[in-house]
Symmetry: C2
Subunit: 759 residues, 2 copies
Amino acid sequence: MKQYLKHDAWKIIEEGFSPEYNRISESVFSIGNGRMGQRATFEEQYSGDTHQGTYVAGVYYPDKTRVGWWKNGYPEYFAKVLNAPSWIDIDISFDGEVLDLAKAKVENFRRELNMQNGLLSRSFVATLPSGKKLAIEAKRFCSMADGEVGAIRYSITLLNASGHMSVILPVDADVVNKDANYDEKFWEEIYKSADADRAMVVAETKKTKFHVATGIAFLFKENDKIKPVNTCTETREKYAAIAFSTEVKEKVSYTIEKYAVVLSSENHKKDLLVSVAEQKLRNIKSEGFDKLFDAHHNNWLKRWEGADITIEGDIAAQQGIRFNIFQLMQTYTGEDERLNIGPKGFTGEKYGGSTYWDTEAYCLPFYLGTADQKVARNLLVYRYKHLQRAIENAGKLGFTKGAALYPMVTMNGEECHNEWEITFEEIHRNGAIAYGIYDYIRYTGDEKYLTEFGLEVLIGIARFWAQRVNWSADKQQYVMLGVTGPNEYENNVNNNWYTNLIAAWTLDYSLQAIDFVKQDDRAAYDKLIKRIDFKEAEESNRWKDIAAKMYLPEDSKRGVFLQQDGFLDKELLTVSQLRKEDRPLNQKWSWDRILRSCFIKQADVLQGMYFFEDRFSFDELKRNFDFYEPMTVHESSLSPCVHVILASVLGYKEKAYEMYLRTSRLDLDDYNNDTEDGCHITSMAGTWMSVVKGFGGMRVREGKLHFNPFIPDQWKSYSFKVEFRGRVIKVDVSKGSTDIKVISGDPLEIIIGEEKELA
Amino acid sequence: MKQYLKHDAWKIIEEGFSPEYNRISESVFSIGNGRMGQRATFEEQYSGDTHQGTYVAGVYYPDKTRVGWWKNGYPEYFAKVLNAPSWIDIDISFDGEVLDLAKAKVENFRRELNMQNGLLSRSFVATLPSGKKLAIEAKRFCSMADGEVGAIRYSITLLNASGHMSVILPVDADVVNKDANYDEKFWEEIYKSADADRAMVVAETKKTKFHVATGIAFLFKENDKIKPVNTCTETREKYAAIAFSTEVKEKVSYTIEKYAVVLSSENHKKDLLVSVAEQKLRNIKSEGFDKLFDAHHNNWLKRWEGADITIEGDIAAQQGIRFNIFQLMQTYTGEDERLNIGPKGFTGEKYGGSTYWDTEAYCLPFYLGTADQKVARNLLVYRYKHLQRAIENAGKLGFTKGAALYPMVTMNGEECHNEWEITFEEIHRNGAIAYGIYDYIRYTGDEKYLTEFGLEVLIGIARFWAQRVNWSADKQQYVMLGVTGPNEYENNVNNNWYTNLIAAWTLDYSLQAIDFVKQDDRAAYDKLIKRIDFKEAEESNRWKDIAAKMYLPEDSKRGVFLQQDGFLDKELLTVSQLRKEDRPLNQKWSWDRILRSCFIKQADVLQGMYFFEDRFSFDELKRNFDFYEPMTVHESSLSPCVHVILASVLGYKEKAYEMYLRTSRLDLDDYNNDTEDGCHITSMAGTWMSVVKGFGGMRVREGKLHFNPFIPDQWKSYSFKVEFRGRVIKVDVSKGSTDIKVISGDPLEIIIGEEKELA
C-alpha cells in the first residue's frame, strides 16, 4: 500500500517527482477515450524506469501458446494487448543537451489528472547538467469528442539562459511489448511519410494484419503567437519525424502543439487510411488545441452529469469513486459493439485479451445504471456475435450439437488463455453470460432482446451444460466434475456449488426464454430452432430433468452450502489466523499449499447468493456469509464489491465500509502491489455497485426499482443518479434522511425499504 | 502400430530403406554404453527427415521455465537432455557430388543392430544423380569396454566408375536441440585443433559449464591395406575436421576407420581434458578397430550371460524381450552412482532430466536381478546424495524441519519439471523412493544400508508426509488433499488411495528402520538424529498416529478401494465401450474430458496392490483388478507390466500375455506412435519384470526366493537367470515342466508354488 498521491475531490495529484513510483503513476494517470489510450509516460525523453504503453482498441496480436506438456484443446494462439505506435514523444535539447528528467535536477514537479475533463498535465522546473534551468508545462488529452484524435500542448521557458533549442516530433511505430519474448516486435511498416509539418506511419500487425495509421502535425508558438520554423524530416524504419531548431530567449515562453490522429483499419478501409488521416490531421490542426479541448471537455461534462457519485465528509472515498467511474468511462464508451472492457483498459498490457466474465458479472450493471440502454445492449450483442466461435471452442473440447462454451479470455471470440484449469475448467463464465442477458432484461424490461439475439445464445449455453454434467449413479443426481469455480484458489474440483447452481439456473431460464419467444414471435422461433437444429421436446426435457436433479452440495449441520465436494476435509481456519508475512498468499505460498488451504480468493458460494439473492432467506445468507467471509483473502480485485453488497444486506456496516475502501482505492493506494502493471478496470464497476447496490440497496424486482439505503458512519452524505427505463433517478442519502426522486422522465413507483413511494 | 522391422532372435533388422520411418529407426537402432550414446543417424550427409542426437551421460542444460501465469514454487530452471558434439559424421563426395541418400537411388538397404554385441551396421548400394553407383558398408559401436570410446568402419566401393573421392571427417559441436527455443544453442567452444590425422573440439555447456572433449582420428585403407593420404584441416566455430581427397578405382574397396574419444569434465579435470583425450586417441588408433571391437563384444557377452531371457516358439516375443534388456544394459551400467536411467536413455532428448520415480518403481528390480548388488545400491545412493536438494525442494513449497520432497524429474537433485499438478502434486514419487530402499533390502538382505544411508532418507520422506496430511474434523481421520496419483489422467484429487497408502506405509517402515538402526549401531543413530535434529518421541508418535488413522477410501458395496474421493461420481465405463477413433485418449480428447472420465492411464490402485501384494487377499485383488483394469487405457508405457504381474497372480493368462506383448514390443512396433522421439527405456525394465515376476512368479518373502511359473499358451518354453544373494538361479519353464536350479553359489531353499525345494 502506497499513499504518495494527494487527496482531492476531482483530481489525481502527484506533487514532487517520485521516480520510484513512476510506473505506478504512469498507470494511475493513464488517459483514453474508448478508441485509444495511453499510459502517462513523459513527452520528452526519459532514461529512468518507465513502461511505455499506447493502445488502440480492438488491435491485438495472436502470440503462440507455449506450454511444457501440450494438452489437447489448448488454443494455438493467445491474444496480446499490443503496444501501439506512439504519437506523444517530444524530444527536446538545448545546445545539444537532451532534456531527460532522469539526468536533470527536478523541482516543483506536479503531475495532475483532472478527472472532470480528462486532461493530463505536468509542470516542473528542470536544471540540466550544464546548469540551464527551464520550466515546462505539458497538457495532453485523448479526445472524448472524437476517438481518433489526441493533442498535446507543451510549453518551455528557459529561465536562466538563451540558447539553441532542437525539437523532434516523431511518430514511432518501432515499439515493443513488455511481455514480448526476446523483444520480438509485432508491427511492420506499411507506409510512412514526413514533410514540413506532418509525419505519418501506417503500421501493420503481424498475423492479424490490422493497419493503424498514426499521423502528427504541429504548431510552434512564441508567447502564444505562431512562430514559423524551418523543419526537416527524419525517417527510419517504422519511424517518421519532423525536426526543427530555433534560437530561444531567456524567460520567453515557447509552445509546441502536437496534434495526432490514430485511425485503425477496424474503422476505415485500408486503402483510404492515409488520405482520411491526412485530411483529419489538417482539420484538427486548423481547429486548434483550445477548440478541440472544449469539445472534449464538454463531452466529459455530459458523461459526468449522469454518472457522478458524490460523497461528503470523506475526501478519500470521494476521490476513489470518481477515479473508478472516470476509468470506466474512458475505457469503454459503448458505441462500438465489437469492443469490450479489457481488464487493464488502456493502462497496461497485462492479462492480454479484452473480455472476461467480468463484463457480465461486474461491468454490466454500471453501464445499465449510467448510460443509454444501447451501451449495455452492445455488450450483449458482442457475445451474440461470438456465438459461432463459442460453439467452435466447445467443439475443440469435444462438445457437439451446437453446445457453446464462451472463452475465459478473448479478443475476437476465440479462447486466448491456456492453462488447463482455467481454459478447460473455469466454465462458470458461461453461466455469467446467460446471467448477463437476464440481468439486462430485468433492468430494462427489453424482453424482445430474447427474440432478437438472447435465446440463441441461451440455447448454446444450455446445450453445453446439458453435456457437461453427468449422472452419478452413486448420488442419484446430476454432478459436474472437474471445474474451477470463481474462487481460483481451488482447481479441478467436483461439484462447485456456484457452477452447479448457475448451470441449473441457465437451464431453467432458457426454458422460460423459449416460452417467451414462442409467444412473442412464433415464426422467428420456428426459424431459429430449424436453423440450429433444436429438438425442443427431447432437449428441453433433458434440461428440466437436469435442473430438477442437480446436485448442490451442502452441510446440513452448519446450514451452509459447500463450495465443492470435500470442502470439509480442509483445515478450517480464518484469515485472522494467518501471519502477516503469509499475505498475500499468492505471492507467499506455493500453489499446492494455496489449493489445499480453505482460503478463498474471491466470492464463490457468496457470488451465487449475490446473483440469486431472492432465492435465499436472510438467515441462510447470514450463515453462509459468516462461514465463508472470514476465510476470504480478497486477493482478486473482484472480491470486495460483492462482499460490500451482501454485508450491506446483513447490516454489517463496518465490514461493508472496510470492503468498500479496498475496492475504491485499490489502484490509487496500490493495495495489491501491482498497479505498476496497469489499473484494475473491471473491478472499478464493482466499486460503483458497492455504492449503488451496496450502500444504496438498489434492486430491481418484478420490474420495480427498490432502494434500501444506509450510510457508512464515516460519511456525511452521498448521492448518485441512475438511469432506469427512460427516467433518471437521483438518490441523496445523508445521516437520518433519504431523498429519492425522478429528475427526468415519467413518475415511477419506487420501493424504499419495505415501503412503496411514488417518486 | 508399425511392423516394418524383421523378426529375429538377436537382431533388429530394417530391410529396404523406409525414409518415412527414418526417425523411428534412428530411435530403435540407437547405441550407447552407459557413458554416451547416439541415435542411429547416418554417417554420410542426409538431407531427408532425420533427428540427429548424440548424448553424454550427466551433461545437461538448465533451460528457463516459461509458463503463462507463474505459480510460486516452480523451479526457475528445468534440465534439458543436451544434444552433444557429434563424432560420427563422414562426408563423402565423388567428383564434387555429395553422397546423400535423400538424393540417390538406394538399393539393397539394410540397417541392422546386433543386440548380442551392440554393433550397428548398415549396407546399401546407392546410385548418385550422375549415375555413379557405389556400395557402402558401415559398422559402428560405442565401446562397452571403455565408455569414452567409439569407432566406425566405413567402406566404399565404386561399382561402375573410377573417380575422385573427397572425404571430410569432422567433430561438430555446432549442434542444436530439437526442443530449443528459436534454435538457441547450448554449447560454446573452449578449444579446438586439427592436424594431419586428428581433430578435437572441447565444448562447454552454457550455465552448467560442463566441458566435453570430443576427438577423432582416422585410418584410410585400400583393400584393407593402409593407404597414406595427404590431409588438410577445416575449422570453423565449434567445428574441426580433417579432409582429404584421393583417386578411387572402380570395384576396389576403400575403408575409412574413424576413431573417437568423448571425455567429460565429470570424469576428468578440465585442464587435463585435452591431453588425456589426445593420449587416448593415440592409443585406440594404434589398437585398431578389430581389437577395440573384440573387447566391446566380450563385454557384451559377459553381460548377456547373466541377463538373457530366452523364449522358444515366439520369435516376436524373443526379439522383444532382448531388445528391452539390450537397451537397459546400454543405458545404465551401474558403475557411476551420479548417473541414473533417463526415460529415453541415449535415444532421444524428450522428457528432459534423467530420473523419474520409474527408477525405483520399475528399474530397480531389473538391476537387482541381473547385475551385481552394487549396481542397485548405486541407484539408492544417488538419491541419498540428493537428499539435501530434496529438503530444499520441499522448502520451496513451504515444508519445514527437514521434510524432503524428491523431485518428479531431476538431473542433479533439483526439480526439473514445471506443471503444478505434477511438480507440486504428484508426490507419491516420494513414497517410491522409500519403497526402493525396502525393495533393495528385501532382495539383498543388506539391512546395513539403513544404517549407512537409508534411514536418513526415510526420515526426510516421513517428515514430508507428516506435514502433507491434515486432520479432517469431518472424517476424524488424516486426509491428503490436492494430489496427483500414478494415474496422471486425474489431477489435484483428494485422498488418492495409492498415495495415502504409500505415505502411511512409509511412516510405518521408517519407524521399523529406526528400531533396526538403534539396535544395529546406537552411536551412528545418535549421531544422525542429532545432526538432523530428529525429535524421536514427538515425531515418531505423530507418525504412528497418522499411519494408524490414515483415511483410505473404499466402496464397501463393491468391495473395492477407491482411486480417490468422488471416483464413484464418474460415469463408469469400460475401455471396450470407447470408439476406436477416440484412442489414444491423450491424442484425441481434450484434457478436461480425460480428467472427468473414469479412464485410467496406468495402474494406480493396482500399483499399490502390486507393491504391497501380501497385505491383500486373492479376492480383494481380483475384485479390484476386475473393477479397474477394464477402465485402464495403458497410455503410459509403465502400465502393462504391472498388469502382467497381477494378471499372472490371478491366473488371467490371456490378459497377461496381451499386456506382455504391449510392453515388450512397444517401441519395435511403435504402439504409441511416438517412438520417433526415442525409446521408452524405463518401461523396458517393466518388460523384464513381466517375465520374471509375472510369468515366473518370482517373489522374495522373508528372505526366501519364491517362484510360481506359468507359460503363455503361445510359447514352447522360456528361461531366465537371476542373481540372488551371491547365487545365480536359472529358471527353465516349458509346457508341463519347470526346472529351477542354482547354477552358481551355495545351495538355496527356493519355494516353488506352495512347495519348498532345495535347489
